[in-house]
Amino acid sequence: MFQRLSRTFLGALPVALALSVGAAPVAHAEPKAGGTLTTFTSGYRTLNPAVQSGASTGSPGSQIFAGLVTVGQDYKIQPYLAKDWEVSADQLTVTFNLVSGAKFHDGAPITGEDVKFSLETVKANHPFGAAMFGNVGEIDVPSPETVVIHLNQPVPGLLLSMQPLLMPILPKHVYGDGQDIKTHPRNMENVVGSGPFKVEENNPAERLVLVKNEDFFIEGRPYLDKIVYPMVKDPLTRVLMLEKGEIDFAPFSGIRPTDVARIERAEGVNLTTDGYDAIGYVHYFEMNLRNEPFSNREVREALAHAIDTGFLSKVIFGGKAVPGTGPLHTGNPFYSADVPMYEPDMDKAAAMLDAAGYPVKDGVRFSFVLDVPSWAPQAHVPMAEYIQAQLEKLNIKVELRKAPDFGTWVQRISSWDYEATMNGSFNYPDPTIGVHRHFDCDNIKNVIWANTEGYCNPEVDKLLDAAAVEVDFDKRKALYAELQKTIQQDLVFIYMPQDFSATVYSDAVGNMPDTPFGALAPMYDTYLDK
């Protein structure tokens, strides 16, 4: 039944792909119960994923809190706290039936009221709350184990957003006390969750320790007794700890492509780039389209011909980073490769600049300042330096302005006070969350990762509006294919190689979380074979 529902509602995925199910065990026979898995954290301000996006909160958060569903291989929606669900013919009512006997970590039963409370909380407080659940209207709880969600318009990505990372099930009796949930003391102290692991020790300066929830609603799970997240900030220290076996499992390891060979040489240590498709981390060269010369599409096209992302991928990132071709990550279910591409051609670029009214004058065509943010230097610094060197050949002077910290960069970009910047963002599996925000005319706002470049195309807005409510997967995919084409045609951004995100793990880790959400999915199937 789930298969049928997910076809009509989420949209049918290619049948051949949908055949592989769940996390496939690699080279291990029987899962073993017990053991302590050591991973790491680089710091978090809250353990409550309802008020904070991203991996630092999300990877422990998805262990502490359960969701209604999980997302398996190839984006297959699987039951979790919801044992099944039904979608009405008009796509405007979704009924979830919860598993019986599920309890929060403090022993209180998980009921439909908690689900309703969680959904309303996420809608109002999560950074993507409005994007994900803006069309959620009334929520009914006819019985403690049934939740009926009424939608104002069809929400094709609804089920994808119902996994714990984006829609954690919160205890209403803890968070429903009227305090502001964003600064609720229970986000960090005495956290009561609904997921496979409970918080044992939470000392963000040193470590987070999660222990097995003995009363978890899935029989015989989780396998692990404990997950320990020591605080390790320094990336080099992290690599040494991995090599020495002090860390078993390091998602979002921050390993540079050039470190890969070293990690692979180390005894008993493996590396995978699986588990990052849902996050869909893309990098791009963003130009402020309000001002000359970047308001001129011809100029942008000339730049696209000058910047050889294939070279960047192959040479600078050692062939480990996939070149981006548009706003969607290659691992996104709606990705399309059928887009205009601009072949590397310096002569053509020079001719286009001449024609666009930017001939070489006193040795220079024009100059601009390229901002380089501080948060992904392993990706953005080499990209910016390459762009600077390439454009120098065209007599364009690029001054790199490396931001000393996050706040400085955010201020410049969100106040539109910049010429060009290296940038990057997460797609999230449904484009309404992480993609629409960059191109929607209504989202031209002084907010970081909104439409800061100032792009407005009514045709694109029409596509976005249609895709947001289209429930037929193939029709929706066609709409997004058109979007990707248009964005590349208009050259809103110049797409860089995608992020090289890698998980490093030891031989002992069985059932590696390698679904699209990777380590941000619940790890009740993961075990240790030491």
């Binding site: 302590t36 991203g54 900030k233 910290d405 996050f406 907010v447």
Partner: protein, 322 residues
């Protein structure tokens, strides 16, 4: 005497207020504000959410109101509330000061003792092999970047010869409050303390060497020698007492600056102290926490100066209350 103390206290208070105002102003000159940094870390937000957060933190008020409120709160012993950690700054600092004091005192005291001994020895035989060795080592220690020394020591003592843990202050398996816990912390302390200590050691051995050479050339030492006092007596009873004064001065000064010294070492070894807290607060624009730490550091400097004064008087009876 009382008048002097009063004057000093007044000076101290004025100094601390000046530090507060200056820090506040400097932090606000930097582009970007805490809410923008916070929202960036949250992964974005709506314009309404941003405005709401600004109002909640009082950032929508004019700067002079903010600074006035802040001074008033500090006067009442309240260092404010951290936007990032959702905790009072005072409790944040108190949580973190223990590990930093442990690290810095261990490093500083071992460095002072060993450094002074090395310096005194090499001062006596200025052209011996030992003396040259101390000079070369201390020059190297003094000029090498601290994080580099840290990583090299990790490679040597945790990876090549795996006897010490790479990072952190405790292991998760050891329960707090037991004897094993103390051993576990000591085990984790070795590498960061060694790293930080090497820098200090270089400094103190050079300082005490130079000071000892100078003292050994003074008339009273020559007189003591002429009287036929044993060598040991001359060195330790007569010369060292004077030679150690600059060491005390600098130890006092440096102890006041514990946090600045510990920032890099704490970051490399993930030591849960004030240094990492300061570092994170800067990157996250957690201005109240940062202001709190800076104020706390200023307080430390003042207290240490007073303590140094007292120690001075004990070592050198000639120094009277000024």
């Amino acid at each position: 005497m009382i008048k002097g103390t009063l004057g000093k206290t007044a000076n101290t208070v004025i100094l601390l207020i000046a530090v507060l105002v200056l820090n506040f102003a400097m932090i606000h000159v930097a582009p970007g504000d805490p809410v923008e940094a916070l929202v960036g870390e949250m992964g974005g937000a709506t314009t309404e959410q941003i405005a709401e957060l600004r109002a909640q933190f009082g950032l929508d008020q004019p700067l002079y109101v903010q600074i006035g409120k802040y001074l008033w709160n500090v006067a009442q012993g309240d260092l404010g509330y951290s936007y990032y950690y959702d905790q009072p700054v005072t409790s944040l600092i108190l949580d973190r000061i223990g590990p930093t004091l442990l690290l810095v005192t261990t490093a500083l005291f071992s460095a002072i003792v060993i450094g002074t001994v090395l310096g005194v020895f090499s001062a006596q035989r200025r052209n011996s092999l030992l003396s040259h060795l101390v000079t070369v080592l201390s020059l190297a220690g003094f000029s090498a970047p601290v994080f580099w020394i840290g990583i090299m020591l990790i490679l040597l003592l945790s990876v090549a010869i795996p006897i010490l843990p790479i990072s952190g202050m405790t292991s998760s398996e050891v329960p707090e409050g037991t004897f094993w816990y103390i051993l576990d912390v000591a085990h984790h302390l070795v590498l960061p303390a060694l790293t930080l200590g090497l820098i200090y050691l270089a400094f103190y051995s050079r300082l005490s060497r130079a000071s000892m050479i100078e003292v050994l050339q003074t008339d009273y030492v020559r007189t003591a020698r002429a009287k036929g006092l044993p060598r040991r007596m001359v060195i330790y009873k007569h010369a060292l007492r004077n030679a150690v004064l600059p060491v005390v001065t600098f130890a006092g000064l440096q102890f006041g600056q514990v946090i600045s010294g510990a920032v890099l070492v704490e970051t490399v070894f993930a030591w849960p102290g004030l240094g990492t807290l300061a570092f994170d607060s800067i990157l996250r624009r957690d201005t109240t926490t940062l202001l709190g730490i800076l104020f706390f550091s200023a307080l430390m400097v003042v207290v240490m100066n007073i303590l140094t004064d007292i120690v001075y008087r004990r070592i050198d009876p000639r120094i009277k209350t000024a």
